[in-house]
């Protein structure tokens, strides 16, 4: 069976500057991979390229998702195929009720897959069920998408969407930024509920503390646009002690 996600020797430029200098990563279904590294090492770039954010130019290498050429797909196509990016800074969309947004997005994905749109009663039932499981108050769903949400609420809204769309690959970009420890625990609980044999997660983080709550199977350390070392979950703890400096030098 081919891996869920295969990144091969990926080189990426942004405005003439190369950010990723040949990055490779293999993720199988059911696995949770953590990608750690200092600021500017290219972690977020990787997540954006996987999701298809504009303005990134891939100059070499490829990304295969379920054996298909991911880079040839539009971002909405990737979403319909099961790629989900939980944003570091989810955007606010004033005037659009969260509920409306969720339904529009879910049905757009279903339509792209050639499935029937979900009926309103079925949709409501599903949202209620999922939000109850994640302890998300109904009242949050009536508000504009992320408008006036606290940092914690925004992240929970990301997790809610993840649970609702049931993607096979979840990329979590700096899930912990801007969260206090309680909010972090709640968001991480939500993520853990979604761990599943058929689903893989790529958890991008600067700090080890997130990995106390979302325990990874593999840890990769990025520095200057490359993965410089990989290991099991104990690698994250080591890093906590030694810092990134040694890898910075190695990569230089």
């Amino acid at each position: 069976m081919s891996p869920l996600l295969e990144v091969r020797d990926l080189k990426v430029r942004v405005e003439e500057r190369e950010i990723l200098h040949g990055l490779s990563l293999t993720v199988n279904a059911g696995e949770v991979h953590a990608i750690m590294g200092p600021n500017g090492s290219g972690k977020s770039t990787l997540s954006h390229v996987i999701a298809g954010k504009p303005d990134y130019e891939v100059t070499a290498g490829e990304i295969l998702f379920k054996g298909e050429d991911l880079l040839a797909m539009e971002p909405d196509e990737r979403a319909a195929k099961g790629v989900f990016l939980a944003f570091q800074y989810p955007v606010e969309i004033p005037g659009v009720a969260t509920m409306t947004f969720l339904r529009t997005a879910l049905n757009a994905q279903r339509k792209a897959r050639g499935e029937e749109e979900m009926s309103t009663p079925d949709f409501l039932k599903k949202v209620r069920e999922v939000s109850a499981r994640l302890n998300i108050p109904q009242d949050m769903l009536k508000r504009g998408v992320n408008v006036g949400f606290s940092g914690g609420e925004k992240k929970r809204n990301e997790v809610l969407q993840m649970a609702l769309f049931e993607p096979s690959l979840c990329v979590l970009d700096e899930m912990d930024s801007g969260l206090d420890i309680d909010a972090l625990r709640i968001a991480a609980d939500g993520v853990n509920q979604l761990r599943d044999q058929g689903r893989a997660m790529v958890v991008i983080t600067h700090y080890q503390r997130l990995l106390n709550y979302i325990v990874p199977d593999f840890v990769h350390v990025m520095s200057r646009g490359r993965i410089v070392t990989s290991g099991g979950k104990e690698l994250a703890l080591e890093l906590e002690e030694t810092g990134y400096a040694q890898y910075e030098e190695a990569a230089a």
């Binding site: 504009p54 971002p75 909405d76 979403a79 944003f87 969309i93 004033p94 005037g95 659009v96």
Partner: protein
């Protein structure tokens, strides 16, 4: 790729094809010769079979117009209009004195059918069981310079409501018309209103008697068809004490290379405890992708809250016209009266919009509320211009204004020019304004969730205008929503 640049390019390519109402009806018509002098006015007045006082009124306006100068203070640019190169009257040839819809030229009926405007009451009533509580809509259809059909007149008359072409009202209810015509927008008001007073041809007249709640929505559908023709309609709505009416106007025109002038005047009068809700869905031909053609929409709309506790509410969705120049306003004369202005102005291609409102607080404890949303795309330019004025005796006057602009791309412009005059220390005036761009981040967030880029723009724009759309009567909110999508087509599905 999802880049916003691509959306912008697509929006820029807005093409004549996307204007779905641009067809022309081939029909024999009777026109006044080109040009404007006293004989033109006599011609129009005679065609309309008007009483002498009406002709005098027109001539007086015309003489004043000759002494006036075309205003140039708005933020719009257009070549000088040659007022002698226009037809001031055009009417489909028809038998005089139509008795029923069956006598209306079938070509005209087909035109309105194509536009989706139901004129045949029979068809509207027949067959389909209507959901409980759904309200019917009475339509006055104005084709070039004349009203061709007004539906449900008989039924409305039962409740005492008068809804008819203004040309008929001048003959049938001269006292009412004389009492109110020109009392809100005087013949001397401004260049275009004065011109309208001299040459207006048709429009709607509405009178709601005391204590009557108009049993259905009233609407007028304006269609410019003829070439080189100006449309100068005049609408007069009077809500007598304690009455209520909701009125909607819609407008379309064929696609033509030349610009056409539309200079209308709308006057609303609300007496004690009366309420008028006036909604506009304006979709005149906006011109092609090169900025050629399109309607010059130079309109004066004003409501007078003449009585105590009266209320006038303007709601407009403006997507058409090459140039829009209009400021639906409220004079809050009666104590405790209130005025509202809700507006969505969408411009694309080379459209220019200079629009807003005036709220003139004269009475005590008068309130006004302004919510204006401007969306500019392509190479268009959109200006909100507003005046809130509280006079010396307007104790306790209150106003709240919010103007928000949304820009799509970087070749369009949005401007906000609010004037505030407070001559009374007890008045409270609030003004909020924002300008934002549909950001790449916002679009990317939506497409990452599976929406196509067009769906994403539509979602963001609909969110942006939501609080104004909610003000439209149910029947028209859906139409307006569709129109918004069409106007931004290329970026919106």
């Amino acid at each position: 790729m999802v880049a916003v640049q691509e959306t912008v390019d697509q929006v820029r390519q807005i093409d004549v094809d996307q204007y779905r109402y641009g067809f022309e009806t081939i029909i024999e018509s009777e026109k006044a010769p080109k040009g404007l002098d006293e004989s033109t006015i006599r011609f129009i007045s005679e065609k309309k079979n008007e009483p002498a006082w009406m002709l005098e009124w027109r001539l007086e306006a015309f003489r004043r117009w000759l002494t006036m100068k075309e205003p140039d203070w708005s933020r719009v640019k257009y070549p000088k209009i040659d007022y002698q190169d226009l037809h001031y009257y055009a009417a489909p040839k028809q038998k005089p004195g139509l008795n029923s819809l069956d006598e209306v030229d079938p070509e005209i009926l087909r035109t309105y059918e194509k536009l989706g405007i139901p004129l045949r009451e029979q068809e509207m009533l027949a067959g389909v069981v209507r959901p409980e509580g759904e309200r019917r809509v009475a339509v006055d259809a104005v084709f070039d310079s004349v009203s061709v059909a007004t539906t449900f007149q008989a039924e409305l008359k039962k409740s005492g409501v008068i809804f008819m072409p203004i040309s008929e009202a001048i003959r049938e209810y001269p006292d009412l018309v004389r009492k109110y015509l020109g009392t809100v927008v005087p013949t001397s008001d401004n260049y275009f209103a004065t011109l309208n007073s001299a040459v207006f041809s048709d429009g709607s007249f509405v009178y709601i008697p005391p204590g009557v709640r108009c049993p259905m929505e009233l609407s007028t559908y304006f269609r410019i068809n003829e070439r080189d023709t100006g449309q100068f309609e005049r609408t007069l709505i009077i809500a007598d004490k304690g009455s209520y009416v909701s009125y909607l106007e819609g407008c379309t025109a064929p696609m033509r290379d030349e610009n056409q002038l539309h200079a209308a005047v709308v006057e609303l009068i609300a007496l004690d405890d009366a309420e008028i809700k006036y909604s506009t869905v304006q979709n005149w031909y906006p011109g092609n992708s090169e900025g050629q053609g399109g309607i010059y929409n130079f309109v004066t709309k004003r409501g007078d809250c003449r009585g105590r506790n009266s209320k006038i509410s303007w709601t407009q969705v403006e997507t058409g016209s090459a140039i829009t120049w209009k400021y639906p306003s409220c004079i809050l004369r009666g104590d405790n009266s209130s005025g509202e202005f809700y507006s969505i102005a969408i411009s694309n291609g080379y459209q220019q919009v200079d629009s807003g409102t005036k709220m003139i607080h004269l009475g005590k404890n008068t309130t006004s509320r302004i919510i204006a949303k401007g969306i500019a795309a392509g190479r268009s330019d959109s200006t909100y211009r507003g005046l809130v004025s509280t006079h010396r005796k307007a104790e306790g006057a209150r106003n709240f204004t919010a103007c928000d602009s949304l820009l799509i791309g970087d070749t369009c412009g949005a401007h906000t020019i609010p004037y505030i005059e407070a001559k009374n220390s007890t008045s409270v005036i609030e003004h909020e304004a924002t300008t934002s761009k549909i950001s790449e981040d916002m679009l990317f967030y939506c497409v990452q969730r599976g929406l196509s880029e067009e769906e994403a723009v539509a979602l963001v724009v609909n969110g942006f205008v939501r609080d104004v759309l909610q003000q439209l009567p149910m029947e028209f909110a859906v139409e307006a929503q569709k129109l918004i999508s069409i106007s931004l087509e290329g970026s919106v599905g």
